[in-house]
C-alpha cells in the first residue's frame, strides 16, 4: 500500500479544465501542458485566479516571457531583470507573490526550474 501511495505521488497528474467554454490541460501545479490552448482569455482567467487584474504593463511582461520561452531561453529572475522590459522591483509589483512562477503560469508556459 505504501508503495502504491509512493507511486501515485510520483505520477504526474494532468487535469482537464474548462475556461470560458474552452477545454485546457494543466499539470498538477496548474501550468498549461500545451501552449496552443492558451489565448488572452485563458491568460485573464488564470490571472484572476491569482488575484491579478491584467494591465497593459502585465501584458508586455507576459508577451516577453512567452517570447523567451519560444526561443528556449532559461528564465530566471536575474534574466527578467536584465531584459529591459521590466526591472525586478516592478516585476514584484506587477506579480507580488512569486512573480516568476505566477507570471509563467498566466502566460501559459512551463514553470522555470531556476534557483536565482
Amino acid at each position: 500500500m505504501l508503495i502504491n501511495l509512493f507511486k501515485s505521488s510520483l505520477k504526474k497528474q494532468n487535469m482537464e479544465r474548462t475556461i470560458n467554454g474552452k477545454s485546457i490541460t494543466v499539470n498538477e501545479e496548474g501550468y498549461l501542458k500545451d501552449f496552443s490552448q492558451w489565448d488572452d482569455k485563458v491568460g485573464e482567467a488564470l490571472a484572476a485566479e491569482s488575484g491579478i487584474a491584467l494591465t497593459p504593463r502585465h501584458w508586455e511582461v507576459l508577451k516577453y516571457l512567452q517570447n523567451e520561452q519560444k526561443n528556449q531561453v532559461a528564465l530566471s529572475i536575474r534574466r527578467v531583470g536584465k531584459s529591459g522590459v521590466v526591472d525586478i522591483k516592478e516585476f514584484y509589483q506587477l506579480f507580488p507573490i512569486a512573480p516568476l512562477k505566477t507570471a509563467t503560469k498566466i502566460a501559459g508556459i512551463p514553470k522555470p526550474a531556476s534557483c536565482i
Binding site: 532559461a74 530566471s76 529572475i77 536575474r78 534574466r79 531583470g81 526591472d87 525586478i88 522591483k89 514584484y92 507573490i97 512569486a98 512573480p99 516568476l100 512562477k101 505566477t102 531556476s114 534557483c115 536565482i116
Partner: protein
C-alpha cells in the same frame, strides 16, 4: 493503567489542538549571516532570494563576519576558505600557501558566472529590489568600527538582536543561522 490512558488522551488532545496555520506553510524566512566566506554568503543570498521567488517574505541579519558581505569596500573581495574545509579536497598545507585562496576563489567565481550567478553587489541589488529587508547588527558594527556609510546603500537599518527578534514575530516564521 488508568494513568497511561490519561496520558494518551492528553497526547491525543494536544495533537488535535495542533492545527498548523495554512498547513504549516512558511510565511517568512529570517536569515542570519555570521560568516564572510564566499560560499556562505552565496548560500544565504540564494536562500533569501529563493524565498521571495516562492512568495515567501525574507529578511537578513548581517552580523560579525557576515558584515563583510554588505561592506562596500569588502564585498567585492570575499574569498572561499581553502584551509579547514575538507570538501575542497586539498591538503591543508597546500591550502595555506600564498595565492591559494585567491586561486580557488577565482575558479569558483568563474564557475558561478557559467551558471548565471550574479556577483555579490548585483545579488544585493536583486535582494533589495525583491523586497528582502537587510539589517546590520549593531553590536558587530560597533566591534568592527564600521559606520552606516561604509555599508551597501540598500541596507534598511542598523538594529539590535532584540529588534531582530521583534521583526521575527508571527506565524509561519522560520529562522536560519549561517
Amino acid at each position: 493503567m488508568y494513568e497511561e490512558n490519561e496520558a494518551t488522551a492528553t497526547l491525543e488532545k494536544s495533537y488535535v489542538a495542533f492545527k498548523p496555520e495554512n498547513k504549516g506553510a512558511i510565511k517568512k524566512m529570517m536569515i542570519i549571516l555570521s560568516k564572510g566566506t564566499l560560499e556562505n554568503v552565496y548560500a544565504a543570498f540564494v536562500l533569501a532570494n529563493g524565498a521571495r521567488m516562492e512568495g515567501i517574505e525574507a529578511e537578513m541579519f548581517f552580523t560579525f563576519f557576515g558584515l563583510e558581505a554588505i561592506h562596500k569596500k569588502k564585498l567585492e573581495r570575499l574569498h572561499v576558505a581553502t584551509v579547514g574545509n575538507p570538501a575542497m579536497h586539498m591538503p591543508t598545507m597546500l591550502g595555506g600557501l600564498p595565492g591559494m585562496e585567491a586561486f580557488a576563489t577565482h575558479m569558483m567565481k568563474k564557475e558561478m558566472e557559467k551558471i548565471d550567478m550574479p556577483d555579490i553587489l548585483e545579488f544585493l541589488d536583486i535582494l533589495s529590489a525583491s523586497g528582502v529587508k537587510l539589517w546590520a547588527c549593531k553590536l558587530a558594527m560597533d566591534m568592527f568600527h564600521y559606520k552606516k556609510e561604509d555599508l551597501y546603500d540598500g541596507i534598511d537599518d542598523i538594529i539590535t538582536v532584540g529588534d531582530f527578534y521583534k521583526e521575527s514575530a508571527g506565524e509561519g516564521v522560520h529562522m536560519l543561522f549561517i
